[in-house]
Amino acid sequence: MYTVADLRKGLKIILDGDPYIVIAFDFAKPGKGQALYRTKMRNMINGTILDRTYRSGETFDPASLDERTMQYLYKEDNAYHFMDNRNYEQIVINEDALGDTKNYLIDNLAVDVLLFGEKAIGVNVPNFVNLRVIKTDPWAKGDTSGSDSKPATVETGYVLRVPPFIEEGELITIDTRTGEYSTRVKG
């Protein structure tokens, strides 16, 4: 059982019998008023988005989903293909169902595919993934007046802010829970 204190981006709960994933969450408190927990959730089966506001004291059932480790193969249009290495069974998951995790899928990455009954409805990626920077502005050495970060595009097409010293071709570690740059991979 979850309480409002457990609500966060990525939490999976059951609502009216369907599994939902929290895609946005904020704590709100109007002056002198009570604490409110605002959530935006996506139905993991049909993709419907739901806005719900909860008060302290409300509880939720966790969505207990089966997980199977699979390998990411390739993308074709909006379809992402995965394979179970034990029996070579292949499955397809739609881009919409993947949400932010699509930003971290590189060929051959091992991920946990989430199953609701027999249906694959999403994936869990590792907390940290290493991705190569394919596009970013060069660092003007000695430039101390400029900004503290700059945009960079990684091999999956995902764009994020990185420190100014990161160069094209470098491998960086990204925290998949926040989508933010974590460290540079040396060597």
Binding site: K32, Q34, L36
Partner: protein
């Protein structure tokens, strides 16, 4: 061994924050205010239904410096301000930190409308000090700082922005939800706005309006949908104040929350307090809005998660 890049990248925000604090101090100094420091750890915080203090040994970390500052007012300190850290249990979000920085000030012989004027002058002066000229861009909207800023009552805000009347919202116990979901996001997007005259039940330390006791002389300031400050004409009647505190304590008890000791010394000295108004402004949030930061995390050196 690894450089904390996220912390290093906050240099600009932290430098601007320091400039803003400097500008605030100059403003109050010019207005004849005395900067004060009151204890952060106190035995008896003001009882409020939905503000939860964090225990510190047998005392509490203060949730605001309100009671000690009012005791200073009662002792004849007519213009005082304080910048201090405050703690509120389990408040964490885009606009909330459980430990945050408050700017609080009190002025004798004025009411809540006088304080709105002063708040407006303060923010305009701070914005100018960091090089913002009469406008702030926040959340993709251009907010004009040119005065006078709009003032609307809570009741007007319900009528303007929601299909519900204020009394209907109170009756159906939906005041907070409607405020957060339907009203707040629309406040202060073109120019900062003061929303005032809250239901009497929502101002435990505020004076009721003499010609309409169903509302408290309380206001809040919003910029870009962000609540920046809360102020009111102070209640100076110790008997009425004690009965309001008892009511708040009962509410806390019914919600299963800790009930702190009654702030007796404050109540004893309250009778000496002159007519006054006071206001608490979330300093981190003001910095956020002036620096166009989407989250409070961007304008403090450390969040609790980073400790």
């Amino acid at each position: 061994m690894t450089l904390n890049w996220g912390l290093a990248a906050k240099r600009n925000a932290l430098a601007e924050r320091a400039r803003i604090i400097g500008a605030i101090r100059s403003f109050f100094s010019e207005e004849g205010y005395l900067e004060v420091e009151t204890p952060l750890r106190i035995p008896a915080p003001a009882p409020e239904s939905h503000i939860d203090p964090i225990p510190s040994a047998s005392w509490f970390l203060h949730t605001s410096p309100e009671l000690c500052m009012k005791r200073l007012l009662a002792a004849g300190y007519g213009r005082i301000f304080q910048i201090c850290n405050c703690w509120r249990a389990e408040e964490r979000g885009r606009l909330h930190l459980p430990e945050f920085t408050m700017l609080e000030w009190y002025r004798a012989e004025t009411g809540y409308f006088g304080l709105m004027d002063e708040c407006e002058a303060l923010i305009r002066s701070v914005a100018a000090a960091i090089g913002l000229k009469e406008r702030v861009v926040y959340g993709g909207r251009e907010i004009s700082l040119q005065g006078p800023w709009e003032r609307i009552t809570v009741s007007e805000a319900f009528a303007r922005y929601t299909p519900h009347s204020l009394s209907e919202a109170l009756q159906r116990d939906l005041f907070d939800e409607i405020m957060v979901c339907d009203i707040e996001p629309r406040l202060g997007n073109d120019s900062p706005v003061f929303i005032h005259d809250y239901p009497a039940s929502r101002g435990a330390l505020a004076r009721l309006k003499p010609d309409d006791p169903s509302v408290a002389e309380r206001f809040e300031l919003y910029m870009g949908g962000v609540e920046l400050a809360n102020g009111f004409t102070e209640l100076t009647d110790p008997v009425e104040q004690r009965s309001r505190f008892l009511h708040e304590q009962e509410t806390r008890l019914s919600l299963g929350k800790t009930v702190c000791p009654m702030p007796e010394k404050f109540l004893e000295e309250l009778a000496h307090m002159p007519p006054a108004a006071g206001i608490a402004l979330g300093l981190d949030r003001l910095v956020m809005v002036l620096l166009q930061a989407a989250s409070i995390d961007e304008v403090v050196a450390f969040t609790p998660e980073q400790l």
